[in-house]
């Protein structure tokens, strides 16, 4: 009931914002005076796949159930304080149904500033810096394409990695050669998520995960925009709480140390972006889900700006859920796993992507084609393991607007 109310609320907001976008009159003024600002974004995508389901389509038809909407407020009463918050509603087929939620909300206090160096503290629900794009992955304009490179930015565990209540210390230093920014966060991930159970327990079980003390850090060096390079490092932790009404699984722990290296070269017309990451999946004390292996994820993308606000890109994106079993044969040879319908190709995905984008003022129109071998990043909530087709194609179209 609560969900349906908030869904109606978010759909109404969506209508208002799209309506105002069409009329070219933003509903909110961006500058509200006295250090107060408002910004927002909205996007609607269309998806068609040759096989498998993405964002609510049914394989042979066109799906419209992928959209995002967010609005934020920030207030800087003086240079040393910043208070920011953003609400978000997101629709993605059966995995996200437009529930309105707090995306982030925190207080930022500058502790030290001497011109070229600042150090500060953030307290509240904070976006997790992870790779180049995680903090703004729901804002279409800031993504490297319509969907994120799924290897490094797996949508099925996005809520887990996106933002979390905690505290972080951050800093910024300006050098002659560039800008160094860093952040270290202590957090407790939000893990009340069906997709997470599919990814880490292989099924939607009656119990639930609970976030444990975790940490994430990032250092990013930006050489005048020409080169950007970074490392993100951390360890996420959670426990499974089985349902007292009966559960096949027992209480266990997941420990997920993770790192990603990021590199980008920018020129006037080209951006070359590559990221490589690994995450250790260490699960113990379970009946069935115990494991200890590393995932491997990387992508490389070349983006060309053609002028007149047109750009195109090509990307290769590869995800292996177990780097020592890249073909998935080892996984699928387990009789219990095979009995549940899992195929070897559910353990990897290699995705070639071609995309194009045209910006008209604050509106971005995009199209992209995917040719995928493997189903590792498909939502299991929409695709039963036995029904997943190994080689498949996808067309995505998107209109996005921001203010």
């Amino acid at each position: 009931m609560i969900r349906s109310k908030s869904s109606i609320l978010s759909r109404s907001c969506l209508l208002i914002v799209w309506g105002s976008a069409a009329l070219g009159t933003p509903v909110f003024a961006q500058e509200l005076g006295d250090g107060l600002q408002a910004h927002g974004f909205i996007s609607q995508s269309m998806v068609h796949t040759s096989d498998n389901k993405v964002g609510g389509n049914s394989g042979d038809d066109v799906g419209w159930d992928m959209r995002e909407m967010g609005a934020n407020l920030s207030w800087r009463p003086n240079p040393d304080w910043l208070i920011s918050g953003q609400i978000l509603a997101r629709w993605a087929g059966d995995t996200d149904e437009g529930k309105l939620r707090l995306d982030y909300g925190f207080v930022d206090r500058t502790l030290f500033a001497d011109g070229d160096t600042q150090v500060g503290l953030r307290l509240g629900k904070i976006k997790n810096p992870y790779g180049f794009f995680n903090t703004t992955r729901d804002v279409a304009h800031t993504r490297p394409g319509i969907i994120m490179p799924q290897s490094v930015y797996l949508d099925q565990i996005r809520n887990f990695f996106l933002a979390a209540p905690g505290v972080s210390v951050y800093g910024n230093s300006e050098y002659h050669t560039g800008n160094l920014s860093w952040q270290i966060s202590a957090l407790r991930p939000e893990v009340n998520d069906q997709s997470l159970e599919y990814v880490f327990l292989l099924n939607d079980l009656p119990g639930h995960f609970k976030g444990k003390e975790s940490w994430l850090s990032q250092a990013m060096f930006d050489m005048g925009g020409e080169w950007r390079m970074g490392i993100s490092l951390g360890a996420m932790n959670m426990t499974y709480r089985p349902s007292p009404l009966g559960d096949i699984e027992i209480a266990g722990n997941h420990h997920l140390p993770t790192w990603v290296l990021s590199l980008e070269k920018n020129t006037e017309n080209w951006s070359l972006t590559a990221e490589y990451g690994r995450t250790r999946v260490k699960a113990k004390n379970y009946n069935f889900a115990n494991t200890d292996h590393w995932t491997e994820a990387w992508y490389a993308q070349a983006t060309r700006r053609f002028g007149n606000n047109w750009q195109g890109f090509i990307r290769y994106d590869a995800l292996y859920l177990d780097k020592d079993d890249k073909t998935g044969e080892g996984f699928a040879s387990d009789p219990i796993i095979a009995g549940l319908g899992f195929k070897a190709h559910s353990r990897y995905a290699q995705d070639w992507v071609l995309g194009v984008r045209h910006d008209i003022d604050h509106l971005a129109l995009s199209a992209e084609l995917h040719r995928v071998d493997g189903t590792a990043w498909l939502a299991q909530a929409e695709n039963l393991p036995a029904s997943q087709v190994r080689k498949w194609n996808m067309l995505l179209l998107q209109a996005a607007w921001r203010f």
Binding site: N72, A113, D116, S181
Partner: protein, 151 residues
């Protein structure tokens, strides 16, 4: 552009090449300083490093050395003056500034600069707002702002 012009001139008038070269060099140095970084007259600085200018226009640095707030005014991304300010003064491309603003603004980590629609409006805002910084194509001697040199 300059190279093509140079080739054209040199191929037609080989005898005048040194003079033309000088002319072209003067022309190109004149276009390189076509945009001035301006600030409110109450701002105590007269010059800043390129690193500081990038930090300020990148919205990472929000206060002047005396502790007062910096207020950044910019023109729309498509404005030729904005493009010239980015490339000539900050040594950045406009898309890079836009990307770093968006990353900060939509994660709540900083605020966006104030966008105005014309150079005239930008000049008026910088003149009227204590702590303000911006840029215009040409500052006249009676304009009520100060020029900040980027070193």
């Amino acid at each position: 552009m300059t190279g093509r012009l140079l080739n054209l001139l040199l191929s037609r008038r080989p005898a005048g090449a040194p003079l033309l070269l000088l002319f072209v060099l003067l022309l190109s140095s004149a276009t390189a300083s076509a945009v001035d970084i301006i600030a409110h007259r109450g701002v105590s600085l007269n010059a800043m490093s390129l690193a500081s200018a990038r930090a300020i226009f990148g919205m990472r640095q929000v206060k002047w050395p005396d502790g007062t707030s910096i207020k950044v005014f910019v023109l729309p991304d498509e404005s030729p003056t904005h493009g010239a300010a980015c490339k000539e003064r900050l040594n950045l491309f406009p898309y890079q500034l836009r990307q770093s603003w968006d990353r900060l603004v939509y994660s709540g980590m900083a605020q966006a600069p104030s966008e105005v629609s014309s150079e005239e409006e930008l000049m008026n805002k910088v003149a009227a707002t204590p702590g303000a910084i911006g840029y215009v194509r040409k500052v006249r001697s009676n304009d009520p702002v100060k020029i900040i040199n980027i070193e």
